[in-house]
């Protein structure tokens, strides 16, 4: 028995999992309907795939949510996991699930997949015969991903950096790398049996004034960490920045560099996709403004040539949306996309060159670290502040980079902290910033965070 298989036996053997049958699961994945694989969908259609967010505690509520989504014309279904499960607290999730089932009140902010188990959940997934994407935020997702794959959920979001730095104060980063290595390997194993399992990174990060250079570097690194374990289908992603130009520039550079780095490390056979998240920052309280924001971001997604868009709802400012509001957003995005065929290619050469240079400069600094494996190099890079994300709660994050918007709304590096980018690239960024006479940077940042309010 391989070391990995021994670890898997240990992981699935716990009081919350009812006898995990590896042989049966392998047989299920091998014979599963192609319609469950988003990787297969990407291969067979050019249409941008529309995916909302959503998850409820009980099986019945998720079932009804999926029915609502299907009637709204959804392409990809989401399964959002509750916060207790994300922190591996399955006992609390179990208790809250029981309370939700007894009282018809939602005591969890998502679906406690471990407690429902794969035998039950698989019935729902195969019933809808539509790709499902696992949305969580879990640093140690080993058991969660085993159960998800066994359930027929063949897209797994997250990664050791993107599910740690924005979400946790002190979960050890080195452990996160090793736990995600396990996830990548299991996804790679199942990918050999049928269509590939798709892995997706979470580009929005802390969703607050994230400079594209950092988003892109982290996307490329999580892609390489995944591909080196044998994953064959990977989605890089980012969220609406607040500047249409910056979204287009980010997408053009990300697509080009993802292919470049995948090829450079010998992953020519891997399929790379682009996912666009509608605005992830604070939403307006006026629902008609939210509708306008959602429509605008759909237009941008079409302009950047995204393979998938992840939608928001007009209720965003008010909490978890109802299934009706959520489905309405799906229908509206599909309607908007119908108008956006045959768009021209747009770009900005100078902006793209500078962004690509900055990304390459950081990537080279990571590769030049003397550590022996990529994850250790990345780990060191984060410890040194060569990679950091603005507004992370994590103690390892350097918290030195400061970003502000230029007059066109582009997010610029005001202070590069310890990011290893050249003076020339940084000068380009700095040259775009205009501060009013005597204006405090912090007041500018506060205004820049709230541009959509």
């Amino acid at each position: 028995m391989s070391l990995l298989q021994r670890e898997r036996e240990i992981i699935v053997h716990n009081e919350f999992t009812d006898r995990f049958d590896f042989d049966e699961v392998r047989e299920f994945v091998a014979g599963a309907s192609k319609n469950l694989f988003i990787s297969h969908r990407f291969k067979t259609t050019d249409k941008m795939q529309v995916q909302p967010r959503g998850g409820f505690p009980t099986y019945d509520k998720v079932f009804k949510l999926y029915e609502e989504f299907k009637s709204a014309g959804v392409d990809i279904l989401p399964l959002t996991i509750d916060s207790n499960t994300r922190l591996n607290d399955y006992a609390t999730a179990k208790k809250m699930l029981a309370l939700s089932e007894e009282n018809d009140v939602d005591m969890l902010n998502g679906y406690p997949l471990i407690n429902h188990g794969y035998r039950t959940t698989r019935k729902m997934i195969t019933h809808f015969d539509t790709p499902v994407s696992l949305r969580h935020g879990t640093p140690d997702a080993r058991l969660l991903v085993e159960i998800a794959l066994a359930s027929g959920i063949f897209e797994i979001e997250g990664g050791p950096i993107t599910y740690l730095l924005p979400y946790s104060k002190n979960f050890p980063l080195d452990k996160a790398f090793l736990y995600w290595k396990y996830v990548e390997r299991v996804c790679a194993l199942y990918s050999e049996l049928n269509e590939p399992i798709n892995r997706e990174s979470f580009g929005p990060l802390s969703a607050t004034m994230q400079p594209p250079v950092i988003v892109l570097v982290i996307q490329l690194i999580e892609m390489l960490l995944s591909l080196e374990e044998g994953v064959k289908s990977f989605s890089v992603s980012f969220s609406q920045t607040g500047s249409m130009l910056q979204d287009i520039v980010s997408a053009n550079v990300l697509k080009r560099l993802a292919r470049k780095y995948a090829d450079r490390f010998g992953h020519k056979d891997a399929d790379i996709h682009l996912v666009y998240h509608q605005w992830m920052g604070a939403f307006p309280y006026d629902k008609s403004f939210s509708d306008a924001l959602i429509t605008t971001s759909t237009v941008i997604a079409a302009m950047v040539g995204a393979d998938k868009i992840i939608t928001k709802t007009r209720n965003e400012a008010f909490g978890i949306p109802t299934k009706e509001a959520n489905a309405l957003a799906v229908a509206s995005v599909q309607y908007t996309l119908g108008m956006l065929q045959g768009l021209p290619d747009v770009g900005d050469e100078a902006e793209e060159e500078n962004l690509a240079n900055m990304v390459d400069e950081i990537m080279e600094a990571v590769f030049n670290d003397p550590a022996d494996t990529l994850w250790r190099k990345v780990y060191n890079a984060i410890k040194k502040g060569h990679i950091e994300i603005p507004f992370s709660p994590h103690i390892i994050n350097a918290n030195e980079v400061i970003t502000v918007r230029d007059p066109d709304g582009n997010i610029r590096l005001y202070d590069r902290g310890k990011l290893p980018i050249s003076d020339r690239s940084f000068a380009f960024e700095k040259s775009k910033i205009r501060l009013r006479e005597g204006e405090r940077v912090v007041d500018k940042i506060i205004r820049d965070i709230g541009i959509m309010l």
């Binding site: 104060k169 940077v441 912090v442």
Partner: protein, 135 residues
Amino acid sequence: MKVVTGVVGNDVHVVANRLIDISLRERGFEVFNLGVNTYLEEFLDAVVETDADVLLISSLNGEAEGWCRDLAILKSRYDFGDVVFAIGGNLGVGEMNPETLVPKYRGYGFDLVFHQIDLNVGLDRLEEHLKERGK
């Protein structure tokens, strides 16, 4: 001048914490930011360790009161001299009357209490207070 700051209790709202950090630095303070999810004991340990002049605790989720009740007890265990104890943010759950909230927090041992007060206004008042104390 040295300031220890951070978000008290089980509160991960990091954005304002980072803005406070940046603002304090802009005003010339030396900042020791303990970040989110910080317990009262950790704050006081940090004040002792760094020989800080100011402790500025913040809270957004409204649960600060439960975490700060023991300030007077903790303060009595060590001679903090003229350290300024300040707290700001959303200091109650739901709509609270500042006229009852502020004295309550003062009673716990805070010199300055900023309930839903603009960041710059609060920091201006902190600086004035320090000047009055001759710091």
